[in-house]
């Protein structure tokens, strides 16, 4: 399954209160409940921030655990830099 982030959150996935964020979380939850692999496509997104990512991934880690998230959720193209670092930090903090 592929989720196109731009379709839900627009070209600027930056704010913690982004309007489409809850919709993306809901889609991810439904797929994860079915153990479905999900690719989050950031194609067409102009700015993606650690804050947005922090609202997206850690809540799912709390529900499904870090192993399941690592196994089933991926980004295309793969995340880099501070954004990737924030995901790792979010998983680490919520896995304690």
């Amino acid at each position: 399954m592929i989720i196109n982030l731009k379709e839900h959150s627009g070209e600027f996935c930056t704010a913690r209160k982004n309007k489409g964020l809850s919709q993306v979380i809901q889609i991810l939850k439904m797929a994860l409940e079915k153990n479905e692999k999900i690719t989050i496509s950031t194609t067409g997104v102009k700015i993606l921030t650690p804050s947005y990512i922090d609202e997206l991934i850690p809540p799912l880690v709390i529900i499904f655990g870090s192993e399941k998230i690592k196994q089933l959720v991926s980004f295309s193209p793969p995340l880099t830099g501070f954004i990737l670092e924030q995901i790792d930090r979010g998983i680490k903090n919520r896995s304690r």
Partner: protein, 182 residues
């Protein structure tokens, strides 16, 4: 790089001459600036956007953005008239002892990881990522708020109290072309 960030701050508070100004910069304008200047360091774009979002959260409006292109470096400045950082951090129960401390010492603390007014996990990363970026690309930064500032150059922090309350937040970032991927 000849002018110190402290001098840039002092001159900037008097006059914005020499800077290109984008008032109330939006995410779209920030992205266009990044593309127009052919900057290739994505972490810088991420940091500038996080700082822009911080301003919106605290000042309830977009900040003003300034930039100046010199012979071998850029100077970026983000300015807002929102609450100072020293008013926000003591709201975090774990940082309540910062209440009343000198502005410069609170600003120094704000550059550390996960230091925020909310104390929530994952918060307080904007200024921390700025500090990290400066280390990674050998840049310089200065964060001024209320009556103090902290600057970081060559991994050395300098805290200084000002004689006046500047009544705004000013963040200055100085990065050479190499650090920007130019």
């Amino acid at each position: 790089m000849t002018s110190s960030l402290e001098n840039i701050l002092k001159n900037f508070l008097i006059s914005k001459d020499g800077f290109v100004e984008v008032r109330n910069i939006t995410d779209s304008q920030l992205f266009d600036f990044y593309i127009t200047q052919t900057i290739k360091n994505n972490n810088l774009l991420v940091v500038l956007e996080e700082l822009r979002m911080n301003s919106i959260e605290h000042a309830k409006s977009e900040p003003n953005f300034f930039f100046k292109k010199e012979s071998d470096h850029f100077v970026f400045i983000i300015e807002d008239n929102g609450f100072g950082i020293h008013q926000t951090l003591p709201k975090n129960p774990k940082l309540s002892d910062t209440e009343g401390r000198a502005s410069s010492s609170i600003l120094r603390l704000a550059l550390e990881e996960s230091i925020s007014g909310t104390g929530l996990q994952g918060r307080g990363m904007g200024l921390y990522f700025l500090s990290r970026l400066i280390t990674e690309i050998d840049g310089e930064c200065l964060v001024a708020s209320d009556s103090g500032f902290v600057s970081k150059t060559n991994d050395i922090y300098t805290e200084k109290d000002l004689l006046i309350d500047i009544k705004k937040n000013v963040i200055i970032i100085k990065i050479n072309f190499k650090g920007l991927g130019l």
